[in-house]
């Protein structure tokens, strides 16, 4: 099957007064139709910026190179109006804070109608009944009444449902979800994860789910990409990433999590590198207990070790010593 989203050597840098920040440093990734890929990483790992660049939503201070093809259309290095014509149609995005993404002075229904009419040649009435259908699909009670209300009349969880309805209004091939449940309480998060799962099953939309929460990824992802300092550190099927991780960073992340047995936690020492002058070779080596001199000149290519693919050059050797 052809991937519905194909990213090749994506690089993003920002000009700042302090210097050029290299936020994304050569990410490549294929997403298949209907697949749910979890992108995990900590603050500053480049996980959000990668996908904002594909959506053409970065400020002018950003320089983006590489390629990202969505259902046959290139999104990088093309004219702004070309990106705009695809955005919302082939690829849509939802964000952490739905309130800032909704227009406070327009009714919810009208905002979804606008979204539909931007890409489809349909009457206002048809678009409105489609909007009500979409609100129903995302589990909003009394969708016909709710469509006439304003964003401030909705709770956080309900607003996120509205955002999802808007994002899927034109049946996109890819839905980018950027920390969509981070601002929500856990019981509401559970509801929204169900909505996203339903949307994926009913519409066969591929979902890229960006999060820092490994529990959320374990719950919903088919595949996982672990990002560190602007690169993919490790990728694999969700079960393999959690059961048999090969990159010391992935292993470190998992052992930092509190578990039921209340054992003492094992934090990762140090802090992520400064991306204005990232270290040579493996970006994780300063925090890695297995780092050797060779790591200073390691590349970022992913190599298959066991069940996962990792950029760690010592991964197969370390895997051997664990067994």
């Amino acid at each position: 099957m052809d991937p519905v989203l194909s990213i090749k050597d994506l690089r993003v840098s920002f000009r700042t007064p302090a210097g050029t920040v290299q936020a994304v440093r050569g990410v490549s990734l294929d997403v298949q139709p209907g697949e749910l890929v979890g992108i995990v990483g900590e603050s500053g790992s480049g996980k959000s910026v990668s996908f904002l660049s594909i959506m053409g939503l970065l400020p002018d201070t950003a320089t983006v190179t590489g390629s990202a093809v969505v259902a046959g259309t290139e999104m990088i290095g093309v004219r702004a109006d070309q990106v705009r014509s695809q955005r919302g149609k082939k690829i849509a995005m939802i964000f952490q804070d739905p309130l800032s993404a909704l227009n406070p002075v327009h009714r919810i229904g009208a905002q979804i109608v606008e979204m539909i009419q931007a890409h489809q040649d349909v009457s206002r009435e048809a678009a409105h009944s489609r909007a009500v259908e979409l609100l129903d699909l995302v589990g909003l009670p009394q969708p016909d009444v709710r469509a006439k209300q304003y964003p401030h009349e909705f709770s956080g969880g309900m607003r996120q449902r509205v955002m999802i309805a808007m994002a899927i209004a034109n049946d996109p091939d890819v839905l980018i979800a950027d920390e969509p449940t981070t601002a929500l309480d856990v019981t509401v998060q559970a509801q929204i994860l169900e909505v996203i799962e339903n949307v994926r099953q009913q519409l066969r939309t591929a979902v890229v789910f960006i999060t820092h929460d490994l529990g959320v990824v374990a719950r919903i992802a088919d595949r996982v990409e672990v990002m560190y300092a602007g690169n993919t550190a490790e990728r694999g099927l969700v079960n393999d990433i959690f059961a048999a991780p090969n990159h010391p960073y992935t292993r470190g992340l998992l052992s930092s999590l509190p578990s039921a047995n209340r054992e003492r936690l094992k934090p990762i020492i140090g802090a992520p590198p400064n991306m204005i002058s990232p270290p040579s070779g493996c970006a994780f080596r300063a925090r890695c207990e297995h780092a050797t001199d060779a790591c200073a000149s390691a590349g970022t290519a992913l190599v298959r070790v066991g069940a996962t693919e990792t950029s760690c050059i010592r991964a197969s050797e370390l895997q051997g010593s664990r067994q």
Partner: protein
């Protein structure tokens, strides 16, 4: 509850007056943030206080230190009631009670060096001795270097700043700390180090913690006992493991089952109880049991009569008309 509790909170109520504007009229209303909450924290103990936004958990943390004035109720520390206490007396008592806030970026003055920030409580309380030496000692205690004293907050990462906040809270050698979401703003790899630090400090200094958080996995890891809050009330209190094994209140069960576990195999087999709807407004809380509007077990009695916290087993109290005493592992799939 025993008399030897270090902190004993009884019937604590906090209401906030707010003006809400509907059209052109402004109406005075009352937010019932905390509605009659009682709990104790023993010496050397960690009590976890969990609940979702608006449950009143942070308000309790602030009332306990009288950073805000409780509307009614008592807060006894070593048997002395803080509510209504004179300022001088309160100030003396506050040496023993300190707080660490969530946001290590907002809680440090950007123009004060780390050394001055940490020695400020020592200066305010006119503690005798060499403050510089004490600052150096505190920095080492929290895993930083004594030379960091001359630097400014912006030169530190989030995890380091939280360590500075902890050092400052410990400057007066308190016995009791309110930890209000102390690791929520930190990335997991950094969070683990701060949690370890808090546990080490507790063991070394015999500290008691009131640990307020919305992240149940962190609370479970650090707490001896956990109190679950919903809309201004404690609905269940139990030893940490007991609460996870036998959540008797339907809200506790829903909350625990909503927390995603970082294990895909477990996640895909789990029985999950997903609540419908949202938390009602604390301006007009439901009559009777406040959880009844979202509760799968709700019956007529739940609207008519408010359930009170009742002991169901040693140290395990629940406020529900239909508590469940079956271990969660034996409960069937319900929705």
């Amino acid at each position: 509850m025993s008399a030897d509790q270090l902190l004993q909170v009884s019937s604590l109520v906090k209401e906030f007056k707010v003006k809400t504007v509907t059209g052109i009229r402004s109406v005075d209303q009352t937010v019932h943030a905390v509605s009659g909450v009682s709990f104790g924290v023993g010496s050397g103990e960690t009590l976890g206080l969990v609940g979702e936004s608006g449950s009143g958990k942070s308000t309790i943390g602030r009332c306990v230190l009288r950073l805000i004035e409780p509307t009614s109720g008592t807060v006894r520390f070593r048997g002395r009631d803080l509510v209504g206490m004179r300022k001088e007396e309160l100030r003396a008592l506050r040496r023993e009670m300190q707080i660490v806030f969530q946001d290590p970026y907002a809680s440090l003055d950007p123009r004060l060096t780390v050394g001055s920030a940490i020695s400020e409580p020592l200066d305010i309380h006119r503690t005798p001795g060499d403050h510089g030496a004490k600052v150096a000692e505190l920095l080492e205690l929290v895993g930083l270097s004594p030379d960091h004293a001359s630097r400014f907050p912006h030169e530190f990462s989030g995890g380091q700043r939280q360590r500075i906040g902890i050092a400052r809270a410990l400057a007066l050698r308190p016995k009791f700390l309110v930890l209000d979401e102390p690791v929520s703003a930190l990335d997991v790899s950094i969070q683990a180090g701060v949690i370890n630090l808090l546990q080490d400090l507790q063991n070394e200094m015999g500290l008691s913690y009131l640990f307020i958080a919305h992240d149940l996995s962190v609370v479970r890891h650090i707490s001896d006992r956990i109190a679950v809050m919903y809309l201004g009330k404690i609905v269940e209190v139990a030893p940490s493991e007991e609460l996870h094994a036998v959540p008797a209140h339907p809200y506790t069960e829903a909350l625990l089952s909503a927390v995603p576990e970082p294990d895909p195999v477990v996640e895909r087999q789990r029985h999950r109880m997903i609540l419908t709807g949202d938390v009602p407004s604390p301006i007009n809380p439901p009559s009777g049991c406040r959880f009844r509007t979202r509760c799968p077990k709700a019956a007529e009695i739940c609207a008519a009569e408010e359930p009170v916290l009742t002991t169901i087993s040693e140290g395990h109290e629940v406020a529900c008309h239909f508590p469940d005493s079956t271990p969660v592992s034996l409960r069937g799939t319900r929705s």
